[in-house]
């Protein structure tokens, strides 16, 4: 698409708003160099265009994408919005520009620079959702289940179906500290609420007892003859540990070379947590670990 490129879009930060920005870019034949939320607005020399959110237009974009590019493309645009991808709105726009030029085949062009970011963002998002559906921990506060998480992606809408199936008659809340949103569900109904912080009463005796039982169970099931902390690291990225009762306070294992050096007295460690200098596994290393778990083809 030819067109001017010296403009920045401002929108309200909703999914509908993002779809309206996309509609506007096509309509005005513009190549915005940024799509910002109102609250991200910074002083700039570029022209600013405020894009109003119109649900009807947004729905038209959505159906258009589904009809012309298929459900997968629609899903990727949707996922991108909830992902942690930098400049996700622009990435979605780039993807759709290519998509409308190439047709439904665009979803198999996963190596293309206008497709790869969305593909990767969608995978990272769903991977995090999958991990969290297991790693989330609830505490029982007077019969209501409460969990606090710190995800990279905006995972709550994706966790909702899973936990509503799991707890159809429970009251539960998952608070996302990163994005400051809470998923609140009761009596089979659920909604998302913007919340600055949650105040929780301290856990009661029964709650503490269950946590202790769980921790004990966790420590008991390890078969020491098969001890393999590195393998655990690849499965449970360190950033989830703080939310998991059984892993809180555990240290990352040091690499063998470092341990040997310490044993031989060649190396002493500073007082800081040595674990924090080791990087958490990347998407790629998780993939590799998963592949390694399967027999070679």
């Amino acid at each position: 698409m030819a067109g001017t490129g010296d403009v920045i879009y401002l929108y309200d930060g909703t999914l509908e708003g993002m779809l309206c920005c996309i509609w506007t870019a096509f309509e005005q034949k513009e190549n915005p160099i940024g799509i910002w939320c109102f609250d991200e607005e910074q002083p700039t020399l570029y022209r600013l265009r405020q894009v109003d959110t119109d649900p009807v237009l947004a729905a038209r974009v959505q159906t258009g994408v589904r009809r012309r590019l298929g459900a997968l493309a629609e899903q990727w645009v949707y996922d991108a919005f909830y992902s942690a991808l930098e400049q996700r709105e622009l990435a979605a726009l780039e993807f759709l520009k290519l998509g409308f030029a190439k047709g439904p085949g665009v979803t198999s062009m996963v190596g293309h620079p206008q497709v790869a970011p969305l593909f990767a963002a969608s995978r990272a998002l769903h991977n995090e959702v999958h991990l969290l559906s297991g790693f989330i921990r609830f505490s029982d506060h007077d019969g209501a289940l409460v969990s606090v998480i710190r995800p990279k992606n905006f995972v709550l809408p994706f966790l909702e179906p899973h936990f509503s199936r799991r707890f159809p008659y429970e009251k539960y809340m998952i608070y996302d500290e990163t994005h400051r949103y809470a998923l609140v569900a009761a009596g089979g109904q659920s909604r998302l609420v913007e919340t600055e912080a949650v105040q929780l009463p301290p856990p009661d005796a029964v709650e503490l007892q269950y946590r202790a039982l769980w921790k004990q169970f966790y420590n008991t099931v390890e078969i020491t003859a098969r001890h393999n902390p590195k393998c655990r690291m690849t499965h449970v990225p360190k950033r989830y540990w703080a939310c998991m009762d059984e892993l809180r306070g555990e240290k990352k294992p040091l690499p063998v070379s470092v341990r040997q050096a310490i044993a031989a007295g060649e190396l002493t460690l500073p007082d800081t947590d040595p674990a924090s200098t080791i990087t958490t596994p990347t998407q790629a290393s998780l993939e590799n670990a998963r592949r390694a778990a399967l027999p070679a083809e």
């Binding site: 999958h130 559906s133 297991g134 790693f135 989330i136 921990r137 609830f138 505490s139 029982d140 289940l145 969990s147 899973h162 199936r165 799991r166 707890f167 159809p168 008659y169 429970e170 269950y210 202790a212 039982l213 769980w214 004990q216 169970f217 966790y218 008991t220 099931v221 390890e222 078969i223 020491t224 003859a225 098969r226 001890h227 393999n228 902390p229 590195k230 393998c231 655990r232 690849t234 499965h235 449970v236 998991m244 059984e246 892993l247 399967l294 027999p295 070679a296 083809e297």
Partner: protein
């Protein structure tokens, strides 16, 4: 004794059991008012233990008080260990408490033989009834069937559980006789047969009446201990193949024997668990289930044990070089599956794509073929991959399995360790190339 102590004892005795997949059933939500839970088809791991294994189920014994005396087992009657038993109520409460906090996906319930198989099974049924009916729990339950249990009780247990298993324990009747004198092959196979028939009958009933109660909807599995008795890998694999055929099992699990007891009948307690061997068995099991291999193709009387340096498929390939290279444009699906570097997914893609357009090496790569390995075994429209340097050594080098050097090759077979199995990677390549 409080719950904490009981849990410690009963989780500790259950942990050597390997079957821990919570998958295989995708059940609707809890419909009964006040119920809870769903069973999700793809397994969810709730945490990973420090040995790197996925923890998704509360895996415990109902009790470790045992009337039997199997010599490889910590809970055998004659062993002096702390004993405990959950009441059905305690167990149900614990399961629900863990499930609500999202610690677990469900329950894996096994038990030692308290008084008799029937008595134990009745207690298990009681616990599961509390879970299913009083708490309305719809999460996943795997229950162990105890050999020698009355068929009616077994039937009852099967309508409460998602998956059942009977441990085959050891890979031969002789080993059973020697190490587990209270168990016989027949006593183990009888409930297995009953469950198989029950599942078959249930699926007929479900066709006729949609609301017929489900019997073991996630199917049946079994497990055996590897490395406590002298059977060859070939023998174990033949047994595995037979179990899949005869009992339509969903999975056969292998458990590397961790020496927990001092006994003249068993490997000494400083023996390392044969992890590489266990790994090879799972790879071979994969070949049986998804690659159309038979046990006798993978191993033979002449070569009864796995090659420590090669996974079983690569090992088969280098011993059948006369069948290669194959032409990918025409080879049938079964033959494509035999090429190192081609799996079921890429083989299916090849078959689908070659109808439309001619294949190329570049295209094969995109379909997921691992050319690094496959290049030595395939032709594409009559050509080998440009620049291919074929020699036994280069072939073998591309195939050698790095796991051999991380898990330790000396563990492949406990009873005969040929000297050539303690090589480094380069020596291994030479040795394998010579054998080709």
């Amino acid at each position: 004794m409080d719950t904490m102590e009981k849990l410690t004892i009963l989780a500790d005795s259950a942990k050597y059991d390997v079957a821990c997949t919570s998958s295989g059933v995708d059940r609707a939500d809890a419909k009964s008012k006040g119920g809870m839970g769903s069973a999700v088809a793809c397994g969810i791991c709730h945490t990973f233990s420090a040995d790197g294994r996925c923890v998704s189920l509360l895996k415990v014994l109902l009790t470790n008080i045992c009337a039997y005396d199997c010599s490889y087992c910590v809970n055998r009657r004659s062993n002096d260990v702390p004993r405990a038993a959950f009441t059905p109520r305690e167990l149900a409460d614990l399961t629900i408490g863990f499930y609500r906090r999202n610690y677990i996906e469900g329950l894996f319930l096994s038990s030692a033989v308290l008084i008799s198989p029937d008595h134990t099974t009745q207690l298990m049924i009681k616990a599961l009834e509390l879970l299913r009916f009083e708490y309305g729990f719809r999460g996943y339950i795997h229950a162990k069937a105890i050999p020698g249990t009355d068929p009616l009780l077994l039937q009852q247990l099967g309508t409460l559980a998602d998956r059942m298993s009977v441990n085959i324990e050891l890979p031969s009747a002789e080993s059973l006789g020697r190490l587990a004198p209270d168990k016989t092959k027949d006593a183990i196979l009888k409930p297995m047969g009953q469950i198989t028939r029950g599942i078959a009958q249930n699926s007929r009933e479900l066709v006729q009446y949609r609301h017929a109660p489900k019997f073991v909807p996630a199917g049946q599995s079994t497990q055996m201990i590897v490395g406590a008795s002298p059977e060859s890998d070939h023998r174990i694999l033949q047994l595995t193949e037979g179990l899949y055929r005869k009992y339509e099992l969903k999975r056969v699990f292998f458990s590397a024997y961790v020496p927990v007891v001092e006994s003249t009948l068993l490997p000494s307690t400083d023996t390392k668990p044969p992890l590489l061997r266990e790994h090879r068995l799972y790879q071979a099991d994969w070949l049986l289930r998804f690659y159309h291999f038979s046990a006798d193709e993978i191993l033979s009387e002449a070569a009864p044990n796995f090659n420590p340096y090669l996974d079983p498929k690569c090992n088969w390939a280098i011993h059948n070089m006369h069948l290669f290279p194959i032409e990918v444009s025409t080879a049938d699906y079964e033959m494509l599956l035999r090429v190192p570097g081609i799996g079921p997914k890429s083989a299916k893609r090849i078959v689908a794509c070659r109808r439309g357009a001619p294949l190329s090496f570049e295209g094969l790569k995109k379909m997921g073929v691992v050319l690094k390995r496959a290049q030595y075994f395939i032709l594409c429209r009559g050509q080998t991959l440009a620049g291919l340097h074929f020699s036994p050594e280069s072939t073998v080098r591309a195939l050698v399995d790095p796991t051999a050097f991380t898990l330790g090759v000396e563990q492949t077979s406990m009873f005969d360790v040929p000297d050539q199995t303690r090589l480094n990677a380069e020596e291994a390549v030479k040795w394998l190339a010579q054998a080709m």
